[in-house]
Point group: C2
Chain length 517, copies 2
């Protein structure tokens, strides 16, 4: 009577009883209660069973932030199967690779993506179930079994967006997703009266496990199939949004939108962000809009936000610049995570001096099982039982981690390391800069030198030499770029991360770049 396996579907089972008739999902005109979400999830499980899906089989899902994706997050595990959420911005060839590599038997796809789904099905032979087919085919009798006998078994396979090379399949387990979901609900303060606006894609680390975490809290999921700043402001007004999670690039667009007005009558909004540190300018603008930013950090390999900049109440009394500096740190392990370490090449902790940099390593219940059918990559990813993130940072004396860069984004100029993030923050504080990416360019004399790509805020104007002068006032001159290139757009992954390797390619061409790690 003492032990039941931890599985994230148990949260929906509970919410269907406790919050029965309360709203669970809105997606356009669609409006489901928690009981409906639960029953439909069970019926999806029944449909999958009828389609021959058995225990441990993989079910791929190709969807944006739609009802179908939310349903798949519960219905697939309830059928005893393993969910493979796929990035909707990948090409048909890449998606077919994932379908084949994961060995998925059924492909669920959004209405809007039916043509792409059909193309993948034709290429791979997988059974396709479009959103309309699911809706029409749901059986009357749901399949509500306990989805897992052992909480350490795989729950899902999340393919990394793969800035280079073949995508790798990150295997999540039930136990980790359960605990991470609780941690997200706890840290974001999700409750039964919370309204979560879906911005971060559900196919990306299961939307930081909020697919289950917000369900645990009995919050309302507000779906959004196309992320659009105007639409976000409409949903905030009309649905009383209280929470969201989004990349800083999306936040920048939200803050810059003409509908972004401070409304004292609106409830405060808490938005978790990650991927890159929110700039002081963005934080200040968001505070004006009554939006509180939680800076989090995670990877596909860590069920999303394994760390967050856990905020001390006293810090509210500091000035804006100091607050922004503290908030730019990735921080500490979340409440269920092991505490992060920064180690040198021999795996020894660097001093917690805020200066000595090393690699961030992680372990604990919210670290993946490994890469699917890739023992070599799985082995290479760990160091004495710790997962190597490939991110470079420092440990501050107060035990908060601040990342300086991805290993491969560090610019090595004249033997000195330049953290691209540091240069970017200096440039971001220049008036009129909307976004910035700093990457290494080849340099005959120094080996590498920093080059900045910037986009301009609406109505703004940028004079590159003035930017360079501005940067040299703030950080060591050798770190300042001599070239500041104004561009219309920065290349991005599906989750909104800037693809620096694309920018580097422009600068390096065929030339080979030698990097340490």
């Amino acid at each position: 009577m003492s032990f039941d396996p931890l599985t994230p579907t148990s949260f929906l089972r509970r919410s269907a009883l406790v919050y029965r008739d309360r709203p669970a999902v809105v997606d356009g005109d669609l409006d489901w209660s928690y009981l409906e979400l639960w029953e439909r999830s069970g019926r999806l499980a029944g449909l999958l069973r009828a389609a021959g899906v058995g225990g441990g089989d993989r079910v791929a899902a190709l969807g944006s932030n739609s009802q179908l994706m939310l349903l798949a997050h519960h219905g697939v595990p309830l059928a005893g199967a393993i969910l493979v959420p796929m990035n909707v911005r990948l090409s048909a060839v890449e998606l077919a690779y994932i379908v084949r590599h994961s060995g998925a038997r059924v492909l669920l796809c959004d209405r809007e993506l039916s043509a792409l789904g059909a193309e993948i099905a034709a290429a791979t032979g997988i059974s396709l179930l479009t959103e309309d087919e699911v809706e029409a085919g749901l059986p009357d009798s749901p399949a509500f079994e306990n989805p897992v006998a052992d909480e350490r078994l795989p729950l899902s396979i999340n393919y990394t967006s793969g800035t280079t090379g073949r995508p790798k399949g990150v295997v999540y387990h039930h136990r980790g997703a359960y605990l991470q979901s609780l941690a997200m609900a706890f840290h974001l303060g999700l409750r039964a009266d919370s309204v979560l606006l879906w911005i971060v894609p559900m196919f990306h680390c299961h939307g930081w496990c909020l697919t289950w975490g917000a369900t645990a809290a009995g919050s309302l999921h507000v779906c959004q199939r196309q992320v659009d700043a105007g639409e976000i402001w409409r949903l905030i007004r009309e649905r009383g949004v209280s929470h969201a999670a989004a990349a800083p690039t999306v936040l920048t667009a939200i803050a810059a939108h003409p509908d972004a007005v401070a409304d004292p009558m609106r409830r405060p909004i808490r938005i978790a962000t990650g991927g890159s540190p929110p700039s002081p300018t963005l934080l200040a603008r968001m505070a004006e809009l009554n939006v509180d930013i939680t800076h989090a950090y995670g990877l596909t390999e860590t069920f999303g936000p394994v760390m967050l900049c856990d905020w001390h109440p006293e810090w509210d009394r500091l000035d804006g610049q100091t607050r922004a500096k503290l908030k730019a740190r990735q921080g500490v392990g979340n409440v269920i995570a092991e505490q992060p370490r920064i180690v040198d090449e021999d795996g020894v902790d660097v001093p917690a001096d805020g200066e000595t940099s090393g690699e961030l390593v992680l372990r604990g219940n919210d670290v993946m099982l490994g890469y699917f059918e890739d023992p070599e990559a799985s082995a290479a990813a760990q160091l004495e039982g710790w997962f190597r993130t490939g991110d470079v940072g420092v440990m501050h004396p107060d035990n908060y981690v601040e990342l300086r860069d991805r290993s491969k984004d560090v610019i090595i100029s004249g033997g000195e390391n330049i953290a691209s993030v540091e240069v970017e923050q200096a440039i971001a504080s220049f008036p009129g800069v909307l976004e910035v990416a700093v990457v290494a360019a080849p340099d005959e004399r120094w080996g590498e030198r920093p080059v900045a790509f910037v986009t301009v805020a609406p109505g703004g104007e940028i004079d590159p030499p003035a930017v360079v002068a501005h940067v040299r006032e703030q950080i060591a001159p050798f770190k300042a770029p001599r070239e500041v290139l104004v561009v219309d757009d920065l290349p991005r992954t599906a989750t909104g991360k800037i693809q620096k390797y694309v920018l580097r390619q422009q600068l390096w061409g065929d030339q080979e770049r030698r990097i340490g790690a």
Copy 2:
């Protein structure tokens, strides 16, 4: 790298890093940061190790809500040992029984309880370490090992307060305490700026696991060695208390105290209560005082609050009587609990009609491993893998449980069941009634009949026939007591529960009472 055992000491380990210099504990003049609490816990572990305590050994603790008790909650498991918290209101003979039964090797005790500790030590031969001896003996080098290789191993043994018979040792496991602590922090909304006033004893289900739950959130523990309503109001004013947990009898005393004034400048306080449903009168009074009551339910066997009356935001708009009626329900399983069932004698679920009564049964990760060295009692406590609570209640159509009575407190009169709680609530609404307990008296004609014991609110006056008339207007006349006995005090357990068996003894004397269960 994926799995680490769940153990509640990991929360302090995290908080010592994350909230390092933030306040963790105040106890009189004593004031510790989270780092200090962690280091002292590790040093207590070192002291215990030096005293010969090894893995799996039991360490008894005799303390009120003191720094020593909080320290023991972390230091004992950090030494790999099993904590046995003891009820300070038990007699030396009863305490010696627990020491012997648990096989404890060391007894920690509060300064104020040193004489009692010495008496137990003399009787049992256990090594005594008083609060002062601990303070003087703490070694310089702490023992900070991972306290448990398997999260399913015993963490503590909690002896039931035992209204009758020998106390039974309820064995808690690390996994359950970890999950229950997270659930408490989540449901009570504990955060780093929360201030928890200790009212529920730490020796009672580890203070509903708040010893670890509030630590997980980085909240401040405000100790209170003697529960006193005036002192509670002083600590609320001076320490900015935001949270507490207490029996309704304590809440009644808080509400009736002359210092109980509504102060719009004070932060709102959330108090979790359980043991018996808060009366509508109490809830209304608490709302005036800006205190929000969370009604919870639990047993020693379930790590404390396994259920709570999870509040729907819409219910705030209902009238006071309806709100109180909804809040009187024990509710639903907490976020980590399995959902409760109400079953008939054959273990079959009764209809969810709010009328058909049955026994509450529970299972899940926050159910005990069993009774220590008592396989017979352990076996008797379960029914097909579910723990039998011995509590009688109904399942409402919205899946919320409402308990009607303890099996043994049901009054069977003329073949009809009378729930003592229902009669008590009718009497509690009579002006001037402070507290009430209704028990069965022997009756020649009906077998049993209800008799009420009431205490009078300060400045109030009670006319027993008027009470009887008042009750007959509200509930079926056969349920109304003919006798209403005004008394100065009601007998209580150490945790504030009214001891109905003491009252029944007064009425039954040597006469044997036959009850069903």
